[in-house]
């Protein structure tokens, strides 16, 4: 994904966190707490637990800021990966039944434009939301469903196979192909956006 102004802000915020400056963490929290909380809530289906994991994630970001390497990924990638991992760990440790909610993509596309975030944040995150939503919508329904159940609901491949009453190999194929097509579509859209921005600068 192309480096943009938002990414630079994130990197400088992470640098502040690494220096032990709470203002850096505060900036990152303001920017990404909804995204992290939304993902945790989707997996855990409990607001209290989702909030606990939200705080754990940012606290871990603070405590392990020295481990963050900007050359290997953005703070957003780090937060998203960590949030999903911690939420799934908590889900499995409580041994709860996993219920998968349906994804309301249409609603998400509208809601991202009315979060009350700062204008800069809205413009950037809203645009990304539209891109991701469109890319997901463009997937074949069975691929999309498998990817959603795996990524958003934290179900294992076996659990997805049981839920959809499909062979395990079929589910793995759906998830693999779904992720690959999603990546290809998002990266081609990013390349189009970057080339469009470059040509407008000339």
């Amino acid at each position: 994904m192309a480096v943009n102004e938002a990414n630079l802000d994130d990197i400088t915020a992470m640098a502040a966190v690494a220096r032990g400056e709470p203002e850096g963490l505060s900036r990152l929290y303001d920017r990404y707490h909804r995204l992290v909380f939304t993902l945790c809530l989707r997996i855990l289906k409990d607001r209290g637990e989702a909030e606990d994991v939200l705080i754990e994630v940012f606290q871990e970001l603070w405590e392990r800021s020295a481990r963050f390497d900007a050359t290997r990924g953005s703070p957003l990638s780090y937060l998203s990966t960590l949030a999903r991992s911690r939420a799934i760990d908590r889900l499995r440790s409580r041994g709860g039944k996993i219920r998968a909610a349906s994804l309301d993509i249409e609603h998400a596309g509208q809601q991202a434009q009315s979060t009350g975030a700062t204008p800069g944040e809205s413009a950037d995150l809203g645009e990304q939301c539209q891109r991701v939503t469109a890319a997901l919508r463009a997937l074949d329904p069975e691929y999309r469903q498998a990817v959603e159940l795996s990524f958003y609901d934290g179900l294992s491949h076996s659990e997805i196979a049981a839920k959809l009453d499909k062979p395990l190999g079929t589910v793995k194929t759906y998830i693999r192909q779904g992720l690959i097509r999603l990546r290809d579509r998002l990266q081609s859209r990013t390349a189009d956006a970057v080339s469009g921005a470059n040509s407008s600068d000339e």
């Binding site: 032990g20 709470p22 909804r34 909380f37 990638s77 990966t81 939301c129 990524f151 793995k172």
Partner: protein
């Protein structure tokens, strides 16, 4: 980098690889190239944006306060280690003045204490970093060992499958291999299961010590006209065992004898070494 390798990094980032695939890839990533690091970072970035497609939710307004409270409660902010003289100010209405020498002494003392605290914290942090690095190295070593053991297990499973396949053949001939009479007291032996439908030999040898350095064992098909036709070159393991499957070339016609000799590494077109095992086939 091939498209398959790119795809595998994406699936690894998403946790969509099998356990064996993930372990193998993780051990490779311990020495990842800059290109691999970049592709993995791109994949993680794609996955990081997926939550944006969900209907957005907000936590309680007190969540941020809880977070920031945890940081200050553990004294984890840089403000707790501020270096420099404490600034005192006196207003025009104040009646209390601190002697200059006392203020200077206090400043120097605070500076010295702060410096010692910073150095200790830095040393502690460096120790933790070294411990973390050591733990990472050990984990990588264990992962490599695990991958090696998994590959060994797969190899054993493959051999077992080959043996089972041979045993279950409809037309099966068993051929025993033994040492030439001059060394009959040793335990070295072999067996050939000849699947006559598939024209394959499943060969197992036991207690045949690994060959000398620079040499390997070689299997020979010996036809009734005494011609020696080279076949598979192999080694035994530390226990002296080996198992293999070979195709019997149809163009040779009937096979009279099977023999195993030691030859220069890579094999020889004609037998030059000692005979270790021989067996009559037909």
């Amino acid at each position: 980098m091939t498209n398959d390798e790119r795809d595998n990094l994406l699936l690894y980032a998403a946790g969509a690889l099998s356990d064996a695939e993930a372990v193998e890839l993780r051990s490779r990533l311990a020495a990842a190239s800059p290109e691999e690091i970049g592709v993995l970072a791109e994949a993680e970035a794609v996955l990081a944006h997926l939550p944006l497609a969900l209907p957005e939710e907000s936590p309680s307004v007190g969540a941020k306060s809880r977070l920031m409270g945890k940081l200050t409660a553990h004294g984890q902010t840089s403000s707790s280690m501020r270096i420099g003289p404490a600034v005192t100010s006196t207003g025009s209405t104040s009646s209390t003045r601190v002697p200059l020498w006392m203020a200077l002494a206090a400043s120097v003392l605070i500076f010295a204490v702060s410096l010692v605290m910073v150095m200790n914290a830095h040393r502690g942090k460096e120790d933790l970093r070294q411990q973390a690095r050591a733990a990472d190295e050990e984990r990588a070593t264990l992962q490599t060992a695990l991958v090696t053991k998994e590959l060994t297990l797969q190899n054993m499973q493959t051999k077992l499958a080959l043996m089972t396949d041979s045993i279950s053949a409809e037309k099966l001939q068993l051929v025993g291999l033994a040492m030439p009479e001059a060394n009959a007291q040793r335990k070295t032996r072999g067996r050939i299961l000849w699947d006559k439908d598939k024209n394959q030999w499943f060969i197992a040898v036991f207690d045949l010590a690994p060959p000398a350095a620079g040499r390997e064992y070689e299997l020979w098909f010996i036809t009734p006209d005494q011609k020696k036709h080279p076949s598979k070159v192999f080694n035994t393991n530390a226990a002296g065992d080996a198992m293999m499957m070979v195709e019997v070339p149809k163009e040779l016609g009937p096979i009279a004898l099977a023999a195993i000799t030691d030859e220069p590494a890579g094999g020889s077109p004609v037998p030059t070494g000692s005979i270790h095992l021989v067996g009559k086939v037909e």
